[in-house]
Subunit: 486 residues, 2 copies
């Protein structure tokens, strides 16, 4: 791990007593902190929540999470929590509450001689964003002797209008250069590597266009159902929960032109350019699905409509398949197929680049040409890495071909990869926005899906444990392709 | 193994009592025969040599070779030899000897009801080719009720004039479509696969040109010295023994344009086109070397000039490095570096395709751009397969790259590969000339090397066990490259 320069700061977590904060954010935060200078400490953490808790009580709750999740080694984790976690109740988030928060922040900064650098991390449901951001702003907490940064988790808005409105609120207090919209997928090593993979390897980058590529598949398959999140999910659906953010990020990283350099804004400019090149989505390019009861592995899964928190006659989609036309110089005529769903047969996130088949085929009818087309598969989950499928001649007389795959697994080359959060938190602390979603990016992404959000095509049922409704298969087959078997 | 249709024939081996025939040709021949229909037998073998031997004595000699070489399983091999091997002495190869041979052939054909199909295989030193071919021709053995084919081993001539003369003699009796000039390397699965690799995989074929490729290396490294062949070798040298045939074949297979189809002549047309595109070789493009005493592994190796059969002041090269300019639409500006040598540190035959480095480099000075260039290595010996070297991002913060390799080994995918001879013999029997060298191909290849043969640059010494004279390194370094470490 290269040493990283992080300026001393106060890290304020809103929603600190929630699930996300306790189980994901705080453990990562501690891990990042453990790799930074400790005397004087690089960062102090101030948790905020509705409930009135003392610092000690908050620490107890956090430590209880960690014990439950079997964080190891536990002893130094506890020591860190005791030494670094403070808590401030925000009650109903009235102006007074934010003033008190300001006073507490100033106090911690003074005690620890922090220079006024502040990170505000919103580990909150998105409905709570506007009120909290306004609270921070109205109390002037975003102004200090140092820098201040705002971190928000997805979802950022629920459509173009709400995202735009939220951006307006954010920008009232935080310049875009201080805003960090997190998309977990972007913390993944493989996604970062996708940039390097393309830009450091002429071999791949020189075939990265309509000249050589036939079509592209992007799949984020989940095996789980809605679990405890039925209430949230039923208001969101797969398009908002997965497609607008994760799959769209993978689309832009795959489809972008080479940036002028690797500065955050140059990279994001190119990503936005992809979004602006996507032709308006037509109804026939969309398949929305919803799972019915079924079996995954040996386990029986109830129908979506029977899940806790879900409306009995819900029309929310748990599956989306899309055909996108990217009308750019690079991609014109190359369909991008996106799909995501819950209760699919396995957990797998991958990008499959299908290369064109040879223009002349010498190897007979026995091997259909489209089978012989080369494929590059970039796997993000569960085993990050990639595979290159190609044809070789079988030994012996005659020319019989077979398909073989070259595999590369990051974990085989490097051992376990750092947790996604880890990288993202460090980037926030260093002020590197490359992996975060910019305001125009999030709005352009919502704009892209407006036609579906406004006129959602009817829901197609699929059995839990299947690969989605048959209409999704037809979407791809209609242009002569098939989804890759995963 | 797909079933192969081979017409029943008589296989006549000239030089049948020699080393090559006993240890290489006859075992392969038996193996091929064992996979063809046996009743009635697809082929009978008639060995010819100077010495007077009975069939039984000849069989005994062959069986003795096999015992020495631990051919397994031995029992069926012996049974096959007893049942299928006949012998006919050719004495001094006078007209009478060939008449007797003709009578014996007719007799065997009649006995076995063979339809007159004949393969003449010249397992002879090349000086003996003209006399033997004339003998066959003058006795009219090349005319029969069936087809007749002539197989010759390398070397085919010792320069353009002698190759041309030899072709004239051959063509007096054998139409080019009945001539099979063997180059062992062309029997290798990997070389055949090179064609398939390129033509069945758009991924590779679409980067196969000056647009994406920086330079190409072709190396045939031998660890052995001249062994028992000092006398032959000192008259030949590396250029005649290896470059004009093996390395040139690899050059043409790598450099050829896509053929119209996979018919033998279409493929060979494209190979010849490469040879005709090579710019005349200049003196500064050639390094000739000769090994001095040294060590390979732990073993002491004498100087070439101290080997048995070698002239004490020999100027014969045991090492050649070349820079070729292929002035074609596809390759203009892409140097092809060829090298071969005896007493090098290891046995290895490979083609390395060096792709261009990225036109813009985002990843800092720490990783020199030319190091990061992608390489495709096609390995022919000792472990046939290929490797693709590419850059990926190391996990963790910052953008540090490292080079990784994807490996493909034929033996891992398929188990042991068939012996080179096996494929070639079967191709002769089936009448497939694709892997054999055509008359114009062999002449154009000699023509290419005429400048060196006529005005050989002076010999540079190198220590046995090194990678050749330092001038070979400079050849590549002068254009900013280095030979790949093997």
């Amino acid at each position: 791990m290269p040493s990283v320069h992080v300026e001393r700061h106060l890290f304020v977590v809103f929603g600190a007593t929630g699930d996300l904060a306790g189980r994901m954010l705080l453990p990562s935060l501690r891990e990042v902190a453990s790799q930074l200078p400790r005397r004087p400490p690089t960062l102090r953490v101030l948790g905020c929540g509705r409930r009135p808790l003392t610092d000690r009580e908050f620490q107890d709750e956090v430590i209880a999470w960690w014990k439950k999740d079997r964080v190891t080694p536990l002893a130094p984790a506890i020591a860190w929590a005791r030494a670094n976690l403070a808590y401030q109740s925000l009650g109903d988030e009235g102006p007074d509450d934010f003033r008190k928060l300001g006073a507490r922040m100033a106090e911690i900064e003074k005690e620890n001689r922090l220079p006024g650098n502040r990170i505000f991390y919103l580990a909150l449901p998105s409905q709570a964003f506007p009120k909290t951001i306004r609270g921070i702003g109205e109390a002037g907490l975003h102004r200090s002797a140092g820098w201040t940064r705002l971190v928000v988790e997805k979802p950022f808005g629920t459509n173009l209008a709400s995202a735009h409105e939220l951006n307006e609120i954010v920008h009232t207090y935080f310049d875009e250069r201080r805003v960090y919209r997190i998309d977990h997928y972007l913390g993944k090593e493989t996604v970062q590597n996708l940039l390097v993979f393309r830009l450091a390897n002429m071999f791949f980058e020189s075939v990265w266009s309509r000249e050589c590529i036939d079509f592209v598949e992007i799949t984020v398959a989940e095996q789980l159902g809605v679990e405890q999140r039925g209430d949230y999910y039923d208001r969101a659906g797969a398009l908002r929960d997965m497609v607008q953010n994760h799959l769209t990020q993978l689309l832009t990283l795959t489809g972008m032109d080479e940036p002028a350099n690797l500065e955050a804004d140059e990279v994001r400019n190119e990503k936005v350019k992809v979004l602006r090149s996507v032709e308006p989505i037509r109804p026939e390019d969309v398949v929305r699905g919803q799972y019915r009861a079924g079996r995954i592995g040996g386990r029986r899964v109830p129908a979506y409509r029977d899940e806790a928190g879900v409306a009995r006659r819900s029309e929310t989609e748990t599956f989306v398949a899309l055909r996108l036309r990217v009308n750019s110089w690079r991609w014109q005529g190359v369909p991008f197929f996106l799909r995501t769903g819950k209760c699919l047969p396995k957990k797998r996130t991958e990008i499959v680049i299908h290369f064109r088949s040879p223009p002349v085929w010498f190897f007979g009818e026995a091997i259909p040409r489209n089978i012989a087309a080369n494929r590059l598969t970039i796997v993000l989950q569960p085993d990050e890495g990639f595979e290159l499928a190609f044809e070789i001649k079988n030994p012996g007389l005659g020319v019989e071909l077979s398909t073989h795959r070259l595999h590369f697994l990051y974990s085989e080359a490097f051992g376990p990869l750092p947790e996604a959060y880890h990288t993202l938190l460090t980037d926030v602390m260093r002020g590197d926005q490359t992996l975060f979603v910019r305001a125009d990016e999030v709005e352009d992404s919502w704009r892209m899906y407006e036609p579906i959000l406004r006129h959602p095509p009817r829901i197609r049922p699929y059995a839990a444990g299947s690969w989605g409704p048959k209409e999704a298969e037809e979407l791809v087959r209609s242009v002569g392709y098939e989804w890759s078997s995963l």
